[in-house]
Amino acid sequence: MSLLSLSQVEVHYGGIRALKGVSMEVRAGELVALIGANGAGKTTTLRAIAGLARATGGIRFDGQSLLGQAPHAIARSGIALVPEGRGVFAQLTVDENLAMGAYSRGDRAAIEKDREHVLSLFPRLAERLTQTAGTLSGGEQQMLAIGRALLSRPRLLLLDEPSMGLAPLLVDRIFEVIRRVSAEGVTMLLVEQNANLALEVASRAYVLENGEVSISGSAADLLGNPKVQAAYLGIEG
Protein backbone atom coordinates (compact mmCIF):
# COMPACT_ATOMS: atom_id res chain seq x y z
CA MET A 1 0.00 0.00 0.00
CA SER A 2 1.53 3.24 -1.03
CA LEU A 3 1.63 6.14 1.40
CA LEU A 4 1.85 8.72 -1.36
CA SER A 5 0.75 8.30 -4.92
CA LEU A 6 0.77 10.71 -7.82
CA SER A 7 -1.13 9.91 -10.99
CA GLN A 8 -0.91 12.02 -14.11
CA VAL A 9 -0.08 15.16 -12.13
CA GLU A 10 0.13 18.31 -14.22
CA VAL A 11 1.24 21.75 -13.10
CA HIS A 12 1.05 24.88 -15.23
CA TYR A 13 2.95 28.06 -14.57
CA GLY A 14 1.13 30.54 -16.73
CA GLY A 15 1.29 29.01 -20.19
CA ILE A 16 4.17 26.71 -19.37
CA ARG A 17 3.50 23.09 -18.57
CA ALA A 18 6.03 22.36 -15.82
CA LEU A 19 4.71 18.87 -15.11
CA LYS A 20 3.18 16.91 -17.98
CA GLY A 21 1.55 14.00 -16.21
CA VAL A 22 3.86 12.67 -13.51
CA SER A 23 2.94 9.37 -11.90
CA MET A 24 4.86 7.93 -8.99
CA GLU A 25 4.44 6.40 -5.58
CA VAL A 26 6.18 6.29 -2.23
CA ARG A 27 5.50 3.38 0.12
CA ALA A 28 5.62 3.65 3.88
CA GLY A 29 9.17 3.45 5.20
CA GLU A 30 10.80 3.98 1.82
CA LEU A 31 13.37 6.55 0.80
CA VAL A 32 12.59 7.45 -2.79
CA ALA A 33 14.84 9.74 -4.81
CA LEU A 34 13.69 12.07 -7.54
CA ILE A 35 16.56 13.03 -9.81
CA GLY A 36 16.88 15.03 -12.99
CA ALA A 37 18.43 18.09 -14.57
CA ASN A 38 17.68 21.70 -13.77
CA GLY A 39 14.16 22.62 -14.77
CA ALA A 40 13.01 19.03 -15.12
CA GLY A 41 10.23 19.64 -12.60
CA LYS A 42 11.65 18.11 -9.42
CA THR A 43 10.95 21.05 -7.15
CA THR A 44 7.59 21.60 -8.81
CA THR A 45 6.63 18.03 -7.97
CA LEU A 46 7.39 18.65 -4.29
CA ARG A 47 5.55 21.98 -4.37
CA ALA A 48 2.52 20.25 -5.88
CA ILE A 49 2.53 17.64 -3.11
CA ALA A 50 2.91 20.30 -0.40
CA GLY A 51 0.04 22.32 -1.88
CA LEU A 52 2.26 25.25 -2.86
CA ALA A 53 1.63 24.78 -6.58
CA ARG A 54 -1.80 24.25 -8.11
CA ALA A 55 -1.91 20.82 -9.69
CA THR A 56 -4.36 18.68 -11.62
CA GLY A 57 -4.47 14.90 -11.85
CA GLY A 58 -4.34 12.84 -8.67
CA ILE A 59 -2.29 13.21 -5.51
CA ARG A 60 -3.25 10.90 -2.68
CA PHE A 61 -1.65 10.67 0.74
CA ASP A 62 -2.68 7.78 2.95
CA GLY A 63 -5.85 7.38 0.90
CA GLN A 64 -6.82 11.07 1.11
CA SER A 65 -6.73 13.37 -1.90
CA LEU A 66 -4.42 16.34 -1.37
CA LEU A 67 -5.58 18.25 -4.42
CA GLY A 68 -7.01 21.63 -3.58
CA GLN A 69 -6.01 21.42 0.07
CA ALA A 70 -4.27 24.41 1.65
CA PRO A 71 -0.54 24.05 2.42
CA HIS A 72 -1.07 24.28 6.16
CA ALA A 73 -3.71 21.57 6.07
CA ILE A 74 -1.36 19.30 4.12
CA ALA A 75 1.41 20.02 6.62
CA ARG A 76 -0.93 19.09 9.46
CA SER A 77 -1.84 15.83 7.81
CA GLY A 78 1.78 14.77 8.27
CA ILE A 79 3.80 15.99 5.29
CA ALA A 80 6.83 18.10 6.14
CA LEU A 81 8.65 19.99 3.42
CA VAL A 82 12.25 21.07 3.77
CA PRO A 83 12.24 23.71 1.06
CA GLU A 84 15.01 24.48 -1.37
CA GLY A 85 17.26 27.12 0.17
CA ARG A 86 16.25 25.78 3.60
CA GLY A 87 13.70 28.45 4.57
CA VAL A 88 14.78 28.76 8.17
CA PHE A 89 13.44 31.71 10.17
CA ALA A 90 16.63 33.75 9.97
CA GLN A 91 15.97 36.12 12.86
CA LEU A 92 14.68 33.51 15.26
CA THR A 93 17.08 31.47 17.35
CA VAL A 94 17.83 27.85 16.57
CA ASP A 95 15.70 26.85 19.54
CA GLU A 96 12.77 29.00 18.39
CA ASN A 97 13.05 27.54 14.90
CA LEU A 98 12.85 24.03 16.29
CA ALA A 99 9.86 24.98 18.44
CA MET A 100 8.15 26.32 15.32
CA GLY A 101 8.49 22.87 13.76
CA ALA A 102 6.27 21.46 16.49
CA TYR A 103 3.71 24.24 15.97
CA SER A 104 0.84 21.92 15.13
CA ARG A 105 1.49 19.52 18.00
CA GLY A 106 0.25 19.74 21.54
CA ASP A 107 1.99 16.82 23.25
CA ARG A 108 4.69 18.63 25.21
CA ALA A 109 6.47 15.61 26.64
CA ALA A 110 6.75 13.95 23.24
CA ILE A 111 7.92 17.20 21.64
CA GLU A 112 10.67 17.51 24.23
CA LYS A 113 11.75 13.94 23.50
CA ASP A 114 11.81 14.57 19.76
CA ARG A 115 13.77 17.75 20.34
CA GLU A 116 16.39 15.83 22.30
CA HIS A 117 16.52 13.29 19.50
CA VAL A 118 16.98 15.94 16.81
CA LEU A 119 19.75 17.56 18.84
CA SER A 120 21.45 14.19 19.15
CA LEU A 121 21.25 13.80 15.36
CA PHE A 122 22.75 17.27 14.93
CA PRO A 123 25.05 17.99 17.88
CA ARG A 124 26.10 21.14 16.03
CA LEU A 125 22.65 22.59 16.60
CA ALA A 126 22.76 21.82 20.31
CA GLU A 127 25.83 24.05 20.57
CA ARG A 128 24.04 26.89 18.83
CA LEU A 129 20.59 26.87 20.39
CA THR A 130 20.56 30.56 21.31
CA GLN A 131 22.15 31.75 18.08
CA THR A 132 19.92 33.21 15.39
CA ALA A 133 19.43 30.92 12.43
CA GLY A 134 20.68 33.55 9.99
CA THR A 135 24.13 33.48 11.53
CA LEU A 136 24.53 29.74 10.92
CA SER A 137 26.55 28.37 8.03
CA GLY A 138 24.73 26.91 5.05
CA GLY A 139 25.25 23.38 6.28
CA GLU A 140 24.01 24.19 9.76
CA GLN A 141 20.95 25.88 8.30
CA GLN A 142 20.23 22.73 6.31
CA MET A 143 20.55 20.68 9.50
CA LEU A 144 18.20 23.07 11.25
CA ALA A 145 15.67 22.89 8.43
CA ILE A 146 15.70 19.09 8.54
CA GLY A 147 15.58 19.07 12.35
CA ARG A 148 12.68 21.52 12.35
CA ALA A 149 10.78 19.34 9.88
CA LEU A 150 11.44 16.24 11.99
CA LEU A 151 9.93 17.97 15.02
CA SER A 152 6.57 17.94 13.29
CA ARG A 153 6.83 14.12 13.44
CA PRO A 154 6.16 13.81 9.74
CA ARG A 155 4.78 10.67 8.17
CA LEU A 156 6.38 11.84 4.96
CA LEU A 157 9.42 14.09 4.73
CA LEU A 158 9.99 15.99 1.48
CA LEU A 159 13.60 17.08 1.05
CA ASP A 160 14.42 19.57 -1.69
CA GLU A 161 18.08 19.62 -2.73
CA PRO A 162 19.65 19.19 0.70
CA SER A 163 23.14 19.21 -0.82
CA MET A 164 22.74 22.47 -2.70
CA GLY A 165 25.52 24.96 -2.10
CA LEU A 166 27.24 22.93 0.60
CA ALA A 167 30.89 21.91 0.95
CA PRO A 168 31.47 18.21 0.16
CA LEU A 169 32.30 17.39 3.76
CA LEU A 170 29.02 18.86 4.96
CA VAL A 171 27.10 17.10 2.22
CA ASP A 172 28.42 13.82 3.57
CA ARG A 173 27.29 14.75 7.05
CA ILE A 174 23.81 15.68 5.87
CA PHE A 175 23.42 12.47 3.92
CA GLU A 176 24.61 10.45 6.86
CA VAL A 177 21.76 11.90 8.86
CA ILE A 178 19.30 11.32 6.01
CA ARG A 179 20.32 7.68 6.02
CA ARG A 180 19.88 7.46 9.81
CA VAL A 181 16.49 9.15 9.81
CA SER A 182 15.37 6.83 7.04
CA ALA A 183 16.60 3.81 9.01
CA GLU A 184 14.48 5.00 11.92
CA GLY A 185 11.44 4.51 9.71
CA VAL A 186 10.67 8.01 8.42
CA THR A 187 9.36 7.88 4.86
CA MET A 188 11.17 10.30 2.58
CA LEU A 189 10.98 11.71 -0.89
CA LEU A 190 14.34 13.20 -1.76
CA VAL A 191 14.91 15.60 -4.62
CA GLU A 192 18.56 15.82 -5.62
CA GLN A 193 20.66 17.05 -8.45
CA ASN A 194 23.56 15.03 -7.16
CA ALA A 195 22.26 11.76 -8.55
CA ASN A 196 25.17 9.71 -7.28
CA LEU A 197 24.51 10.62 -3.69
CA ALA A 198 20.75 10.27 -4.01
CA LEU A 199 20.96 6.80 -5.55
CA GLU A 200 23.35 5.68 -2.82
CA VAL A 201 20.88 6.35 -0.02
CA ALA A 202 17.60 5.68 -1.83
CA SER A 203 15.85 2.38 -2.29
CA ARG A 204 14.03 3.43 -5.44
CA ALA A 205 14.24 6.40 -7.74
CA TYR A 206 12.46 8.27 -10.52
CA VAL A 207 14.21 10.25 -13.20
CA LEU A 208 12.36 13.38 -14.32
CA GLU A 209 12.95 14.83 -17.77
CA ASN A 210 11.04 17.85 -19.10
CA GLY A 211 8.21 17.36 -16.68
CA GLU A 212 7.80 13.66 -17.25
CA VAL A 213 9.10 10.51 -15.59
CA SER A 214 11.53 9.02 -18.11
CA ILE A 215 13.07 6.19 -16.10
CA SER A 216 12.15 4.56 -12.81
CA GLY A 217 13.26 1.56 -10.83
CA SER A 218 15.33 0.44 -7.90
CA ALA A 219 18.28 2.63 -7.04
CA ALA A 220 20.67 -0.20 -7.83
CA ASP A 221 19.14 -0.65 -11.30
CA LEU A 222 19.38 3.03 -12.02
CA LEU A 223 23.00 3.16 -10.91
CA GLY A 224 23.71 0.47 -13.51
CA ASN A 225 21.54 1.97 -16.24
CA PRO A 226 23.82 3.28 -19.03
CA LYS A 227 21.45 6.12 -19.90
CA VAL A 228 21.36 7.30 -16.30
CA GLN A 229 25.11 6.88 -16.05
CA ALA A 230 25.71 9.00 -19.11
CA ALA A 231 23.19 11.72 -18.33
CA TYR A 232 23.34 12.08 -14.57
CA LEU A 233 26.26 10.20 -13.09
CA GLY A 234 29.01 11.63 -15.25
CA ILE A 235 30.10 8.21 -16.46
CA GLU A 236 30.98 8.08 -20.14
CA GLY A 237 29.07 5.34 -21.96
Binding site: H72, L81, M100, G134
Partner: protein, 359 residues
Amino acid sequence: MSGAQGRRFPPWVGVVLVTIALVALPFALMQAGTAWVRITNFAILFVILSIGLNIVVGFAGLLDLGYIAFYAVGAYVYALLASPFFGLHWPFWAILPIGALVACGFGVLLGAPTLKLRGDYLAIVTLGFGEIVRILLNNLSEPFNLTNGPKGISSIDPVSVFGLSLGGTTKVAGFAIPDAVKYYFLLIVLLVAVIVVALRLQNSRIGRAWEAIREDEVAARAMGIDTTRVKLLAFALGAAFGGVAGGLFAAIQGFISPESFVLNESVMVLAMVVLGGMGNVWGVVLGALLLSFAPELLRYTIEPAQRALFGKSLVDSEVLRMLLFGAAMVAMMRFRPAGLLPSAVRKRELARLAQDDNA
Protein backbone atom coordinates in the same frame (compact mmCIF):
# COMPACT_ATOMS: atom_id res chain seq x y z
CA MET B 1 11.53 44.72 35.05
CA SER B 2 13.80 43.17 37.66
CA GLY B 3 17.22 44.71 37.37
CA ALA B 4 20.46 42.89 36.82
CA GLN B 5 21.61 43.75 40.35
CA GLY B 6 19.28 41.06 41.59
CA ARG B 7 16.09 41.44 43.53
CA ARG B 8 16.40 43.55 46.58
CA PHE B 9 12.64 44.05 46.70
CA PRO B 10 9.87 41.59 46.05
CA PRO B 11 8.08 42.31 42.76
CA TRP B 12 4.87 43.53 44.42
CA VAL B 13 6.76 46.54 45.76
CA GLY B 14 7.21 47.75 42.21
CA VAL B 15 3.55 47.16 41.41
CA VAL B 16 2.50 49.12 44.52
CA LEU B 17 4.85 51.99 43.71
CA VAL B 18 3.65 52.22 40.11
CA THR B 19 0.05 52.10 41.26
CA ILE B 20 0.62 54.90 43.76
CA ALA B 21 2.35 56.97 41.09
CA LEU B 22 -0.48 56.42 38.61
CA VAL B 23 -3.12 57.33 41.18
CA ALA B 24 -1.26 60.44 42.28
CA LEU B 25 -0.42 61.61 38.77
CA PRO B 26 -3.68 63.35 37.81
CA PHE B 27 -3.75 65.29 41.08
CA ALA B 28 -0.18 66.41 40.53
CA LEU B 29 -1.04 67.39 36.95
CA MET B 30 -4.04 69.38 38.14
CA GLN B 31 -1.65 71.74 39.89
CA ALA B 32 -0.41 72.69 36.43
CA GLY B 33 -3.95 72.90 35.12
CA THR B 34 -6.71 70.45 34.26
CA ALA B 35 -5.69 70.82 30.63
CA TRP B 36 -2.69 68.61 31.38
CA VAL B 37 -4.94 65.87 32.67
CA ARG B 38 -6.89 66.07 29.40
CA ILE B 39 -3.66 65.92 27.44
CA THR B 40 -2.68 62.84 29.44
CA ASN B 41 -6.03 61.24 28.68
CA PHE B 42 -5.52 61.72 24.96
CA ALA B 43 -1.99 60.37 25.31
CA ILE B 44 -3.42 57.22 26.91
CA LEU B 45 -5.91 56.88 24.05
CA PHE B 46 -3.03 57.02 21.63
CA VAL B 47 -1.11 54.46 23.66
CA ILE B 48 -4.08 52.10 23.30
CA LEU B 49 -4.21 52.83 19.57
CA SER B 50 -0.48 52.22 19.18
CA ILE B 51 -0.67 48.93 21.03
CA GLY B 52 -3.45 47.90 18.66
CA LEU B 53 -1.54 48.94 15.55
CA ASN B 54 1.54 47.20 16.92
CA ILE B 55 -0.31 43.89 16.69
CA VAL B 56 -0.69 44.39 12.95
CA VAL B 57 2.60 46.11 12.15
CA GLY B 58 4.92 44.91 14.90
CA PHE B 59 3.77 41.38 15.53
CA ALA B 60 2.46 40.27 12.15
CA GLY B 61 4.61 42.58 10.01
CA LEU B 62 1.71 43.94 7.94
CA LEU B 63 2.06 47.63 7.16
CA ASP B 64 -1.24 49.40 7.80
CA LEU B 65 -1.60 53.07 6.87
CA GLY B 66 -5.33 53.30 7.43
CA TYR B 67 -5.49 52.25 11.02
CA ILE B 68 -7.32 55.36 12.17
CA ALA B 69 -10.39 54.09 10.29
CA PHE B 70 -11.01 51.55 13.06
CA TYR B 71 -10.72 54.32 15.63
CA ALA B 72 -13.34 56.18 13.62
CA VAL B 73 -15.62 53.17 13.46
CA GLY B 74 -15.43 52.70 17.23
CA ALA B 75 -16.09 56.39 17.80
CA TYR B 76 -19.11 56.49 15.49
CA VAL B 77 -20.59 53.33 16.95
CA TYR B 78 -20.42 54.92 20.38
CA ALA B 79 -21.76 58.23 19.12
CA LEU B 80 -24.74 56.68 17.34
CA LEU B 81 -25.73 54.47 20.25
CA ALA B 82 -25.32 57.08 22.97
CA SER B 83 -26.50 60.47 21.74
CA PRO B 84 -29.70 62.30 20.89
CA PHE B 85 -28.90 61.73 17.19
CA PHE B 86 -30.93 58.50 17.08
CA GLY B 87 -32.32 59.05 20.56
CA LEU B 88 -30.42 56.01 21.81
CA HIS B 89 -28.67 56.13 25.16
CA TRP B 90 -27.14 52.72 25.68
CA PRO B 91 -24.79 52.17 28.58
CA PHE B 92 -21.06 52.44 28.01
CA TRP B 93 -20.32 48.81 28.94
CA ALA B 94 -22.74 47.58 26.31
CA ILE B 95 -21.44 49.81 23.55
CA LEU B 96 -17.73 49.31 24.02
CA PRO B 97 -17.79 45.59 23.07
CA ILE B 98 -20.13 46.38 20.17
CA GLY B 99 -17.73 49.05 18.95
CA ALA B 100 -14.84 46.61 19.25
CA LEU B 101 -16.80 43.96 17.36
CA VAL B 102 -17.88 46.29 14.57
CA ALA B 103 -14.30 47.54 14.20
CA CYS B 104 -13.22 43.90 14.20
CA GLY B 105 -15.65 43.28 11.35
CA PHE B 106 -14.17 46.19 9.43
CA GLY B 107 -10.73 44.72 10.10
CA VAL B 108 -11.80 41.47 8.48
CA LEU B 109 -13.45 43.43 5.67
CA LEU B 110 -10.15 45.14 4.97
CA GLY B 111 -8.00 42.09 5.64
CA ALA B 112 -9.81 39.42 3.65
CA PRO B 113 -9.30 40.81 0.16
CA THR B 114 -5.85 42.27 0.79
CA LEU B 115 -4.02 39.45 2.54
CA LYS B 116 -2.21 38.37 -0.59
CA LEU B 117 -0.53 41.76 -0.76
CA ARG B 118 2.69 42.53 1.02
CA GLY B 119 4.77 45.52 2.01
CA ASP B 120 4.23 48.63 -0.07
CA TYR B 121 1.19 47.27 -1.86
CA LEU B 122 -0.58 46.48 1.37
CA ALA B 123 0.32 49.95 2.65
CA ILE B 124 -1.32 51.54 -0.39
CA VAL B 125 -4.52 49.53 -0.06
CA THR B 126 -4.82 50.20 3.68
CA LEU B 127 -4.22 53.88 3.02
CA GLY B 128 -7.07 53.79 0.54
CA PHE B 129 -9.28 52.01 3.04
CA GLY B 130 -8.67 54.70 5.65
CA GLU B 131 -9.67 57.36 3.15
CA ILE B 132 -12.78 55.45 2.07
CA VAL B 133 -14.00 55.26 5.64
CA ARG B 134 -13.37 58.96 6.22
CA ILE B 135 -15.09 59.95 2.98
CA LEU B 136 -18.05 57.70 3.78
CA LEU B 137 -18.39 59.35 7.18
CA ASN B 138 -18.34 62.70 5.44
CA ASN B 139 -21.04 61.78 2.95
CA LEU B 140 -23.37 59.33 4.64
CA SER B 141 -25.84 62.05 5.50
CA GLU B 142 -27.72 61.25 2.30
CA PRO B 143 -29.97 59.53 1.36
CA PHE B 144 -30.24 58.20 4.86
CA ASN B 145 -28.62 60.30 7.55
CA LEU B 146 -26.32 57.89 9.33
CA THR B 147 -23.29 60.02 10.20
CA ASN B 148 -24.57 63.59 9.93
CA GLY B 149 -21.80 64.28 7.40
CA PRO B 150 -19.14 66.88 8.09
CA LYS B 151 -21.21 68.42 10.85
CA GLY B 152 -20.46 65.41 12.99
CA ILE B 153 -22.37 64.15 15.98
CA SER B 154 -22.59 66.17 19.17
CA SER B 155 -23.98 65.86 22.70
CA ILE B 156 -22.61 62.35 23.02
CA ASP B 157 -23.38 60.85 26.43
CA PRO B 158 -20.54 60.78 28.92
CA VAL B 159 -19.52 57.42 30.32
CA SER B 160 -21.33 56.38 33.43
CA VAL B 161 -19.80 53.73 35.71
CA PHE B 162 -21.96 52.14 38.44
CA GLY B 163 -24.31 55.08 38.35
CA LEU B 164 -21.51 57.62 38.57
CA SER B 165 -21.38 59.87 35.55
CA LEU B 166 -17.84 60.61 34.47
CA GLY B 167 -18.94 63.83 32.84
CA GLY B 168 -19.04 67.04 34.88
CA THR B 169 -17.45 67.68 38.23
CA THR B 170 -18.07 65.51 41.25
CA LYS B 171 -17.56 66.65 44.81
CA VAL B 172 -15.83 64.10 47.01
CA ALA B 173 -15.22 65.12 50.62
CA GLY B 174 -15.01 68.77 49.69
CA PHE B 175 -12.69 68.11 46.73
CA ALA B 176 -13.92 68.99 43.28
CA ILE B 177 -12.94 66.18 40.92
CA PRO B 178 -13.27 67.25 37.29
CA ASP B 179 -14.41 64.91 34.52
CA ALA B 180 -10.87 64.63 33.11
CA VAL B 181 -9.59 63.03 36.31
CA LYS B 182 -12.46 60.55 36.40
CA TYR B 183 -11.84 59.58 32.79
CA TYR B 184 -8.17 59.27 33.57
CA PHE B 185 -8.88 56.45 36.00
CA LEU B 186 -11.16 54.67 33.57
CA LEU B 187 -8.51 54.98 30.86
CA ILE B 188 -5.74 53.70 33.12
CA VAL B 189 -7.76 50.62 34.02
CA LEU B 190 -8.47 49.92 30.33
CA LEU B 191 -4.87 50.61 29.41
CA VAL B 192 -3.60 48.05 31.91
CA ALA B 193 -6.06 45.52 30.49
CA VAL B 194 -4.96 46.29 26.93
CA ILE B 195 -1.27 45.93 27.83
CA VAL B 196 -1.88 42.62 29.56
CA VAL B 197 -3.82 41.30 26.55
CA ALA B 198 -1.08 42.44 24.14
CA LEU B 199 1.69 40.84 26.20
CA ARG B 200 -0.23 37.60 26.51
CA LEU B 201 -0.88 37.59 22.76
CA GLN B 202 2.79 38.06 21.98
CA ASN B 203 3.79 35.03 24.00
CA SER B 204 0.98 32.84 22.76
CA ARG B 205 0.88 30.33 19.94
CA ILE B 206 -0.67 32.99 17.76
CA GLY B 207 2.16 35.35 18.66
CA ARG B 208 4.70 32.80 17.53
CA ALA B 209 2.76 32.20 14.34
CA TRP B 210 2.84 35.96 13.60
CA GLU B 211 6.56 35.96 14.13
CA ALA B 212 6.99 33.05 11.73
CA ILE B 213 4.86 34.75 9.07
CA ARG B 214 6.84 37.94 9.35
CA GLU B 215 10.02 35.96 8.80
CA ASP B 216 9.08 33.61 5.99
CA GLU B 217 5.53 33.02 4.89
CA VAL B 218 6.16 29.88 2.84
CA ALA B 219 8.11 28.23 5.64
CA ALA B 220 5.38 29.23 8.08
CA ARG B 221 2.80 27.48 5.93
CA ALA B 222 5.01 24.41 5.77
CA MET B 223 4.93 24.37 9.60
CA GLY B 224 1.17 23.95 9.41
CA ILE B 225 0.34 27.59 10.17
CA ASP B 226 -2.86 28.75 8.50
CA THR B 227 -1.32 32.02 7.35
CA THR B 228 -4.55 33.48 5.99
CA ARG B 229 -6.41 32.99 9.24
CA VAL B 230 -3.57 34.15 11.43
CA LYS B 231 -3.07 37.33 9.42
CA LEU B 232 -6.77 38.02 9.43
CA LEU B 233 -6.71 37.58 13.18
CA ALA B 234 -3.99 40.21 13.46
CA PHE B 235 -6.11 42.67 11.47
CA ALA B 236 -9.22 41.86 13.48
CA LEU B 237 -7.56 42.11 16.89
CA GLY B 238 -5.71 45.29 15.99
CA ALA B 239 -8.96 46.77 14.73
CA ALA B 240 -10.78 45.80 17.93
CA PHE B 241 -8.24 47.74 20.01
CA GLY B 242 -8.77 50.71 17.72
CA GLY B 243 -12.52 50.36 18.15
CA VAL B 244 -12.26 50.45 21.93
CA ALA B 245 -10.06 53.54 21.81
CA GLY B 246 -12.51 55.18 19.40
CA GLY B 247 -15.46 54.59 21.70
CA LEU B 248 -13.59 56.17 24.60
CA PHE B 249 -12.62 59.08 22.41
CA ALA B 250 -16.23 59.79 21.50
CA ALA B 251 -17.34 59.60 25.13
CA ILE B 252 -14.58 61.86 26.42
CA GLN B 253 -14.87 64.39 23.64
CA GLY B 254 -18.65 64.51 23.52
CA PHE B 255 -18.43 65.48 19.86
CA ILE B 256 -16.95 63.75 16.82
CA SER B 257 -16.68 64.59 13.17
CA PRO B 258 -14.80 63.04 10.24
CA GLU B 259 -12.07 65.66 10.69
CA SER B 260 -10.66 63.75 13.65
CA PHE B 261 -9.89 60.72 11.52
CA VAL B 262 -7.63 61.98 8.76
CA LEU B 263 -4.63 60.22 7.24
CA ASN B 264 -2.32 62.31 9.41
CA GLU B 265 -3.62 60.53 12.48
CA SER B 266 -2.86 57.12 10.96
CA VAL B 267 0.64 58.26 10.18
CA MET B 268 1.04 59.63 13.69
CA VAL B 269 0.05 56.33 15.31
CA LEU B 270 2.40 54.48 12.99
CA ALA B 271 5.17 56.90 13.93
CA MET B 272 4.52 56.14 17.60
CA VAL B 273 4.88 52.42 16.96
CA VAL B 274 8.04 52.85 14.92
CA LEU B 275 9.62 55.38 17.28
CA GLY B 276 8.99 53.25 20.33
CA GLY B 277 10.10 49.99 18.80
CA MET B 278 7.97 47.80 16.56
CA GLY B 279 7.00 44.56 18.20
CA ASN B 280 7.86 45.62 21.73
CA VAL B 281 4.78 46.54 23.75
CA TRP B 282 6.70 48.65 26.27
CA GLY B 283 8.55 50.41 23.50
CA VAL B 284 5.27 51.26 21.80
CA VAL B 285 3.88 52.63 25.07
CA LEU B 286 6.94 54.86 25.38
CA GLY B 287 6.73 55.99 21.75
CA ALA B 288 3.08 56.91 22.05
CA LEU B 289 3.61 58.85 25.28
CA LEU B 290 6.57 60.75 23.83
CA LEU B 291 4.87 61.71 20.60
CA SER B 292 1.69 62.69 22.44
CA PHE B 293 3.38 64.87 25.03
CA ALA B 294 6.23 66.35 23.00
CA PRO B 295 4.02 68.61 20.84
CA GLU B 296 2.15 69.87 23.88
CA LEU B 297 5.34 70.57 25.80
CA LEU B 298 6.71 72.42 22.78
CA ARG B 299 3.50 74.38 22.44
CA TYR B 300 3.86 75.59 26.01
CA THR B 301 7.58 76.36 25.80
CA ILE B 302 8.31 77.68 22.30
CA GLU B 303 5.88 80.57 22.34
CA PRO B 304 7.02 82.02 25.70
CA ALA B 305 10.66 81.39 24.79
CA GLN B 306 10.28 83.40 21.58
CA ARG B 307 8.61 86.24 23.40
CA ALA B 308 11.37 86.32 25.97
CA LEU B 309 14.09 86.26 23.33
CA PHE B 310 12.69 88.51 20.60
CA GLY B 311 9.90 90.31 22.32
CA LYS B 312 7.40 88.84 19.88
CA SER B 313 6.47 85.56 18.31
CA LEU B 314 8.47 85.19 15.06
CA VAL B 315 7.63 81.67 14.01
CA ASP B 316 4.33 80.06 14.66
CA SER B 317 4.83 77.34 17.27
CA GLU B 318 2.92 74.90 15.07
CA VAL B 319 5.52 75.30 12.33
CA LEU B 320 8.44 74.89 14.68
CA ARG B 321 6.81 71.94 16.26
CA MET B 322 6.64 70.06 12.97
CA LEU B 323 10.21 71.08 12.15
CA LEU B 324 11.57 69.75 15.42
CA PHE B 325 9.40 66.74 15.07
CA GLY B 326 10.80 65.92 11.64
CA ALA B 327 14.36 66.48 12.77
CA ALA B 328 13.82 64.19 15.73
CA MET B 329 12.44 61.46 13.49
CA VAL B 330 15.39 61.71 11.12
CA ALA B 331 17.83 61.58 14.03
CA MET B 332 15.98 58.59 15.41
CA MET B 333 16.21 56.70 12.15
CA ARG B 334 19.90 57.44 12.01
CA PHE B 335 20.81 56.50 15.57
CA ARG B 336 18.14 54.11 16.80
CA PRO B 337 16.53 52.62 13.70
CA ALA B 338 14.88 49.78 15.61
CA GLY B 339 13.13 52.26 17.91
CA LEU B 340 13.83 53.51 21.40
CA LEU B 341 13.06 50.18 23.02
CA PRO B 342 13.46 47.69 20.20
CA SER B 343 12.09 44.19 20.38
CA ALA B 344 14.74 41.50 20.61
CA VAL B 345 13.96 40.14 17.18
CA ARG B 346 13.96 43.54 15.46
CA LYS B 347 17.29 44.35 17.04
CA ARG B 348 18.73 41.19 15.54
CA GLU B 349 17.16 41.92 12.17
CA LEU B 350 18.77 45.33 11.93
CA ALA B 351 22.14 44.13 13.20
CA ARG B 352 22.03 41.52 10.50
CA LEU B 353 21.14 44.04 7.80
CA ALA B 354 24.02 46.26 8.86
CA GLN B 355 26.32 43.27 8.71
CA ASP B 356 25.15 42.41 5.22
CA ASP B 357 25.69 46.00 4.13
CA ASN B 358 29.25 45.98 5.38
CA ALA B 359 30.03 42.64 3.82
